[in-house]
Symmetry: C2
Subunit: 221 residues, 2 copies
């Protein structure tokens, strides 16, 4: 019964399955096997079965799983039908990009307002969402019972804005700043570490190029 006991990697793969399955449905495909999903997404077929099992969806031997059933099971398991309201702070380019991602609502999150410290931004409407002054955050967040804060501010102010959010009842923070936030344990933090991501890519590429060189020029030349 403990929903917490689902492995974190499984949790992160489910949305990937979901998008894959939605694309299958758009193409009109009705059935799919775990082996095929695994091949297309680069996951071991046994792993796919275990991952899908946690959602409670069941397949039929010889025919596989109904695409539609899997989609619904994943949506239910991830609780994407219960949409939670979110406030976004930092209406720069990244914030604007996120405001434009219509698909978040399907993933259980709706950005209902944006906030920015800059007077230039305040008053604008981005993708239909109003940009409000920071001062309005506390009162509105409490009144609307906002559960999710999206943090797209510069690293220097990320910690203080995060603390302000938590002080206003925010329980989960989606953090795009390249710092580790120091917050109470019960606050859920999800980091999008863009610098780690590009840094790792850059490192892997340089290692890859070196190994190509080494192959082309044997060490005893």
């Amino acid at each position: 019964m403990r929903a917490e006991s689902v492995p974190e990697p499984t949790l992160r793969r489910l949305p990937s399955y979901y998008h894959y399955l939605v694309r299958l449905r758009e193409k009109g495909q009705e059935m799919i096997s775990a082996a095929q999903i695994g091949e297309d997404l680069g996951v071991h077929h046994t792993q796919v079965r275990k991952d899908l099992a946690v959602t409670g969806s069941q397949g039929k031997p010889k025919v596989g799983h109904r695409v539609e059933d899997l989609i619904v099971s994943i949506e239910n398991f991830l609780n994407w039908n219960n949409v939670t309201d979110a406030f976004l702070v930092g209406a720069g380019h990244l914030g604007t990009a996120l405001l434009g991602y219509a698909g978040f609502e399907r993933a259980g999150v709706k950005i209902v307002a944006a906030f920015d410290a800059s007077a230039k931004m305040v008053g604008k409407k981005i993708q239909g969402v109003s940009v409000l002054p920071m001062e309005k955050f506390p009162d509105l967040a409490r009144r609307m019972h906002i559960g999710i804060g999206i943090l797209t501010v510069p690293a220097e102010v990320a910690q203080e804005v995060a603390e302000m959010m938590v002080g206003c009842g925010v329980q989960a923070i989606w953090n795009f700043a390249p710092i580790v936030l120091d917050l109470p344990d019960e606050v859920i933090v999800e980091n999008v570490a863009l610098y780690s991501s590009i840094g790792v890519l850059s490192r892997k590429l340089s290692v890859h190029r070196k190994s190509l060189l080494a192959t082309a020029t044997p060490p005893n030349s």
Copy 2:
């Protein structure tokens, strides 16, 4: 000697240490212990030691590590001094946000040109980088030996654009589209799965809220 043998989680933590250390340096701090790093970043101290060990940096018992030495060791290990040129495709809001991230150059990557399929975008300059028509990608990429492609296009065209990139000599792709790219094994792909990230956050929050309810209202009520 096999640089590949470094655990992937270690690789992903190193940039996090790096940013933390740079902030310490800005504050004027010269020495730091593994225990302190671990506490501040939420990583076990033994883990911190192992992670730092792969960079070759050494500390001194009783005093710890020199902040400056650690920064240099991480930069060298991740090969961030060798800056690789990158082309970005898809100059929408997200692409624009990435073009504005000055810090990527410190992480070994420099975006030297952007491309877009829309005539509206072509010809513009974003953050000092020109937006060129897609047709120019192949010739320019080959002539400039572009190693990294940044994919900020809609999911529907991500696969074909990625294939085009690889066909032009691109060896590593930073993919922001919510699909698993099907490319030759030797191509390095780094996915930024935003929908997975927000979807997992949303799920954790709903589980968290349910457990709060359960605590407030015992099952045998």
